[in-house]
Subunit: 183 residues, 2 copies
C-alpha cells in the first residue's frame, strides 16, 4: 500500500498544518511510513498553498508525489491546477463553498468543509481539521483514533472543539465511504 | 547554488517548525526555490526528530537530501546519527549543552543555542529561533530580514522576544562567519 495525498488551497487555510497532522497521525499512531513535504518559491504559484503526504506500508524510496491518489482542494485555483492529469481511480475531496466549477470525468466528493468548521468551532481556521476527518471517513487511509491523538496533542486549549470538528468530518466522509477504501 | 540543510534533535524541540520557518523565509522572502520535508514512522527512529530543507536558485528536480551541506543538531543522538558520512566542506552547527561528544574531522560550530533561548525568552522552546539566527549569521544561506518577516508573522503575541532571540543567534553566528559562506 502506497498512497499519495495532496492537500491544496489558499495561503492561510492551514494546508501545511493539515498535512503535518496527517503525517504525524499516520506515522506515529497508525504505524505507517510517511514522508511529508511542501514547496515554496517560484514553484509555488502566487497565493496557492500545497502540501504532500505519502503514506506507505513499505519503506519509501521515492519521496515525491508524482500522481496523487487523493487530492483535497480548498480553493478553485487549487482544484483547477491539481486535478489535471489525475490517474484513473484517484479521488478529489473539495470544499463546495470555494470550489464551484467542477470538471467532468473526475471522482469529485464535495463537502461544506469550511462551513462545518465555522459552525462547530466558530472559526474557518479549523477547516483543516474537518478535512482530515472527511479523509479518514471517506477513504480510511488514516484512522480516526490516530487523528484524535495528534489533534489533542496539538490543540491543548481548543482540543475539544477541534475533536468535534474532526468527528463531524469523519461522519460526513463515512456516509459515502469510497469503494476504493484502503482499510 | 543548491544547499541541503538538515535540522535534527529530540521531539518537542521545534525541529519541524524551524525547518518550515527556514523554508518560508527562503522561498517567500529571499526568492529561492525551496523544498521542505520530514519523515515519520519506522524510518524516524524513536524520539528523534529530523527535517530537511533544500534551497536552490534553480528549479529543484531532485527533492531529497542525500548529502547535507549543513547539519544542525540539538541532541547527542541526532549529532551521532547525522554527522556520519558528511562530505568535505559540510559544516555542523550544534547545541553545546546537549551535544558534548564531538567527532574529529568535522567542521563543528558549537553554540549555547538552548541557553540563549532561555536567557532571552524564558523558554527553551525558542531554541529553534536562535538556531535560525545562527544559521543566517554563520552561513548566509538565508537572510536575517527574511527570517524576521516569518518570525513576525508566526508569533503574533511573542514576536518581539523571538526577534531578539533571532538577532542574538545571528550575532553569534556572524562572529565566525564561515569561509564557505554562500552569500
Amino acid at each position: 500500500m502506497r498512497k499519495e495525498i495532496r492537500i491544496a488551497g489558499s495561503g492561510g487555510q492551514g494546508i501545511v498544518l493539515a498535512s503535518i497532522l496527517l503525517a504525524e497521525a499516520s506515522g506515529i499512531y497508525d504505524g505507517k511510513n510517511v514522508v511529508q513535504s511542501q514547496v515554496y518559491g517560484a514553484a509555488a504559484r502566487g497565493e496557492m498553498s500545497k502540501a504532500d503526504v505519502i503514506i506507505s506500508d513499505e519503506e519509501i524510496y521515492f519521496p515525491e508525489v508524482r500522481s496523487p491518489d487523493i487530492v483535497i482542494t480548498l480553493s478553485q485555483d487549487a482544484y483547477d491546477e491539481f486535478t489535471n492529469g489525475l490517474k484513473e481511480g484517484s479521488l478529489v475531496i473539495l470544499d463546495d463553498f470555494y470550489v464551484r466549477h467542477l470538471k467532468d470525468g473526475i471522482k469529485n466528493f464535495h463537502y461544506p468543509i469550511t462551513k462545518v468548521a465555522i459552525d462547530i468551532t466558530g472559526s474557518k481556521i479549523s477547516s483543516n481539521i474537518v478535512l482530515l476527518g472527511i479523509l479518514s471517513g471517506l477513504t480510511g487511509v488514516v484512522t480516526l483514533d490516530a487523528l484524535k491523538n495528534v489533534v489533542n496533542e496539538r490543540f491543548k486549549n481548543k482540543g475539544e472543539l477541534n475533536i468535534k470538528a474532526l468527528e463531524k468530518g469523519y461522519e460526513l466522509g463515512a456516509k459515502e465511504a469510497y469503494d476504493g477504501k484502503t482499510n
